[in-house]
Subunit: 321 residues, 2 copies
C-alpha cells in the first residue's frame, strides 16, 4: 500500500478513511483533521489563548503538540490526582514535554492543595473513582481557565472517547447529557468555553502520532479505571468498527448533525437554575457545588484563595469577553 | 436458588429480573410479561381478532401460544419464502403447531403466488437478502390482515430483537426509523395496526418457553441472515448485558419513555405523501410500491387478485373500525 498523498511507503493504515500514510503525510493528516474540527465547529479563533488539559497520556500531549504547531497560544494544565505511581509517571511525562517545547505548564496538585486524593474520594463517596475524578477535573479546569483569563479549556477527547461516551449516554438515554455532548460548549455565566479538537482522530492515530513525534507519554490506562463501563462500551464499538470501518465516525457525527439538537431542551433546563456556590463561587444548581461537597466528604479542605468574591470578579470579566 | 414465586427448585434464572423460576411459575412470568406489554402500550382489546406473523421459530410460536392461552382470537399467517430446507422445516413447525392447537394457519407461498423467492430477489436487487425478505413480509402481512379484516398484525419481535434494531438505528441515526420504532403502530390509511407483545421478554426466555411447552420450532438461524449486521449488534449488546444485566431493557424502554417522541416528526414527514400503489393498492410514497417493484425486478408476477379497487374497499373498512 502506498501513501495516499505522496505514494511513498506507509507507516499506518486508516481503514475508516480507506487510506494509508507515510510518516510525514500522517502528521499532516493529523494537523488537517484538527484544523477541520476547529473550523467546522468554530472552536477557536486565531490569537485565542487556550488552556490544554494535560494528563500525560497520548491524547492530551499530542493535542498540545498539534495546537502549538498550528500556532495557538496554548498553555498546559496538569492536575495531580494522587493516584500513586500512575500520577508520578503521568506528571513526569507532562513536565518533560513542556520542558522540551519550552511551553508553560500550570500544575494543580489535589492532595497538596485540597487535602484529599482520588482513591480516598472514591472510598468516601462509595462511588466509582472515575466519578470523583471527572468531577474534580471539570471543576478545577474551569476554575483555572477563568482565573487565568484563557479563552477556552481544550481537552484531548478523541473520536473513540466521544463515541463511547455517546454510546453510554444512549444506552441509558441520559437526555440531559445527550443535549450537551457537543465538541464545543460555549462560555456562559461562570463556565469557560470548552472544546475538543481531536474528535476527528481515533486513539490509535494519537498513539501513532506520539510515537512518530517522539513524545513520551504514559501508556498504562489509569489503574482506577480498570473494568469501568466506559471501557466496555469502547470494546463493543471496536467490534462493530472492525467489521464496518467508519461506524464510530458515522455514529458520532450522525448524532451531531441529526440528533443532538433534539435533546437541547434538556440541557437548557438544567442550566436555568444555576447560582454561585456560596463556598467557592462556581456555578451550581445545588445548594453547594459538587466539588465543595466532594472535598468535604473526602476529608479535605478548601484553600483560602477560593473566596467567592475574587472568583466572582474573574468570572464576570470572562463572561464579557 | 429457589423460585421467586413458590420457593420450589428452579429451571431458569433471569439475571435482569434478579430472579429464578420453576417451570410453572416461568410460564406464568411469560404470560404476565405479555399481559403487561399489551396493557401498558394498549396493544389489543378483549375480543380483537389478530393475525400472528408465524415464522416457525421460537418467538412467533411462543407468542401464538401465549395469545391463545390468554384468550385472544389469534390466527397465524405463515409466509413461504423459498429458502430451501430452511423454509421446508419452518413451514413444517408452523403447521404442526397449528394442528396441535386446532388453530387456523393462513399460508402465503411467495414462489407459488408471486413467482420469485428470497435468494433470487437478493441476487436481482443486489442487496442483502434480509432487505427483500423484510419488505415482502411487511407488505404481505399488512395485506393479509386488511383482506382478512383482522384488528392487528402481531409479530414476535422480542426484547433482544428490538434492542438490536434500536442499536442499529442509533448507530446510523436513522431518525425516520427511530420515529416509528414503537411497540404499537396504530392503524392508519392503508396500514393495519401492528403490535409486538414480546418486547418485555428476551430470546433466551422464548426458547425456554418453547422447550417447557413442548413446542417444536426451527432452531437454526435463517441461512440468509448469517453474518448480517443485526447479529453483530446483538453480540455487542449481549456483551454489555453480561456485565450489566438489564442494560438491554433499560436501553429499549428508556428510548420509548424519554427519546422516541423526539423523533416523531421525522416519521410523520414520511407519511405525508402516501398514495395507493397503482398496481396493488398498497400505500406508498413512490410511484409504485416497493413490493411491486421487487416482484418485477425478481422476475415474478402479481396475481390477479390484487386489483386496486377490491383492496381499497377492504382498507377503508379497516380504517373506520
Amino acid at each position: 500500500m502506498k501513501c495516499r498523498r505522496c505514494r511513498q511507503p506507509t507507516v499506518i493504515e486508516l481503514r475508516r478513511h480507506n487510506a494509508a500514510f507515510c510518516r510525514d503525510c500522517f502528521l499532516h493528516h493529523c494537523r488537517e483533521q484538527v484544523k477541520r474540527a476547529v473550523h467546522d465547529f468554530r472552536m477557536m479563533a486565531p490569537g485565542d489563548r487556550v488552556l490544554v488539559a494535560v494528563s500525560g497520556g497520548k491524547d492530551s500531549l499530542a493535542l498540545w503538540d498539534l495546537l502549538l504547531d498550528l500556532g495557538y497560544d496554548a498553555d498546559g494544565l496538569y492536575l495531580g490526582l494522587g493516584i500513586g505511581e500512575y500520577s508520578d509517571e503521568s506528571g513526569r511525562c507532562a513536565r518533560a514535554y513542556a520542558e522540551r517545547r519550552g511551553a508553560k505548564l500550570v500544575e494543580v496538585d489535589i492532595p497538596t492543595q485540597f487535602g484529599f486524593d482520588i482513591p480516598g474520594a472514591a472510598i468516601a463517596t462509595r462511588r466509582v473513582p472515575c466519578s470523583a475524578c471527572g468531577l474534580s477535573k471539570r471543576h478545577l479546569f474551569d476554575r483555572a481557565a477563568l482565573d487565568g483569563g484563557y479563552d477556552a479549556v481544550v481537552t484531548g477527547h478523541n473520536l473513540d472517547d466521544e463515541a463511547a461516551v455517546l454510546f453510554g449516554n444512549v444506552l441509558h438515554w441520559h437526555t440531559e447529557y445527550l443535549g450537551r455532548q457537543l465538541p464545543v460548549l460555549p462560555a456562559r455565566d461562570g463556565f469557560p468555553r470548552k472544546v475538543k479538537p481531536l474528535v476527528r482522530l481515533g486513539e490509535r492515530e494519537m498513539a501513532a502520532y506520539c510515537v512518530i513525534r517522539g513524545i513520551d507519554y504514559i501508556v498504562e490506562e489509569c489503574p482506577m479505571a480498570a473494568g469501568n463501563r466506559h471501557l466496555g462500551y469502547k470494546d463493543a464499538l471496536n467490534a462493530i468498527e472492525a467489521s464496518s470501518p467508519g461506524a464510530k465516525h458515522d455514529f458520532y457525527f450522525g448524532f451531531l448533525s441529526r440528533a443532538a439538537a433534539r435533546f437541547a431542551d434538556r440541557a437548557e433546563a438544567d442550566q436555568a437554575t444555576l447560582h454561585p456556590c456560596p463556598t467557592c463561587g462556581a456555578p451550581t444548581t445545588a445548594e453547594r457545588c459538587a466539588f465543595c461537597r466532594l472535598v468535604e466528604r473526602a476529608g479535605g479542605s478548601l484553600p483560602g484563595a477560593t473566596v467567592p468574591v475574587e472568583l466572582g470578579e474573574t468570572r464576570r470579566a470572562e463572561v464579557t469577553t
